[in-house]
């Protein structure tokens, strides 16, 4: 069974600084997707970024980028120029190609201070 591990329960960053959230996963599949979802206090799940396993290039979305290391089964999220609005829970998630479900990690709470 696929598993997703987020080893950092909480991270802190100052505004305008950069922070990296870690995620590792375990799978025997070769085709899959990885996602980072943001969950603010409203508890809405918001997709931040996605990465297809077959793509070697790391995905980027504005201030958000990933470091995808397929051999190491590692998928970290880098947030540059952190903003107060980035404060939230961040969940790493795994989905198989034509996946039927997402498997989530336990989440990392990101605190952003002025």
């Amino acid at each position: 069974a696929q598993t997703v591990t987020q080893s950092q329960p909480e991270m802190s960053v100052q505004e305008a600084e950069t922070v990296t959230l870690s995620c590792t996963y375990d799978t025997s599949e070769s085709d899959y997707y990885l996602f980072w979802y943001k969950q603010p206090p409203s508890r809405q799940m918001i997709l931040v970024i996605r990465q297809e396993a077959y793509k070697q290039q790391n995905a980027t979305e504005n201030r958000f980028s990933v470091n995808f290391q397929k051999a190491a089964k590692s998928f970290s999220l880098k947030i540059s120029d952190s903003q107060l609005g980035d404060a939230a829970m961040y969940f790493c998630a795994y989905g198989r190609w034509s996946f039927q479900k997402l498997v989530f990690g336990t989440g990392t709470r990101l605190l952003v201070s002025p």
């Binding site: 508890r43 809405q44 799940m45 997709l47 034509s98 039927q100 997402l102 990690g105 336990t106």
Partner: protein, 113 residues
């Protein structure tokens, strides 16, 4: 921008009562999901639904749970006899096709007393 909607936003029910949580997926989406998140814990998969039938379900999704797509727009999750441990946030999600990402609704907070 199209979005997944869920009603109600918060439901309080007594143990043993039946509840129905409602979702309206994005209109051209074909795959539908329910997840739950107990407070302070991770999001857990409950069930996926495609072509008017369940395609996968988790161990959590026992005989007390059922899903239905009663018409062309709604997707419901029914819990027949609620337990205290069913208290959680329930998220509906939908996906168009192929490798597209799942779009989540805002969730329904279920409180069982």
């Amino acid at each position: 921008e199209p979005e997944v909607t869920q009603t109600p936003s918060h439901q309080v029910t007594q143990m043993g009562q039946e509840v129905i949580l409602r979702c309206v997926p994005i209109s051209n989406h074909l795959y539908f999901y329910w997840y739950r998140q107990i407070l302070g814990q991770k999001v857990e998969f409950l069930v996926s639904f495609y072509n008017n039938e369940i395609s996968e379900k988790s161990e959590i999704f026992d005989d007390q749970f059922s899903v239905e797509r009663p018409d062309g727009s709604n997707f419901t999750l029914k819990i027949r006899s609620t337990k205290l441990e069913d208290s959680a946030m329930y998220f509906c999600a939908s996906r168009e096709t192929g490798p597209d990402e799942q779009y989540f609704g805002p969730g329904t907070r279920l409180t069982v007393t």
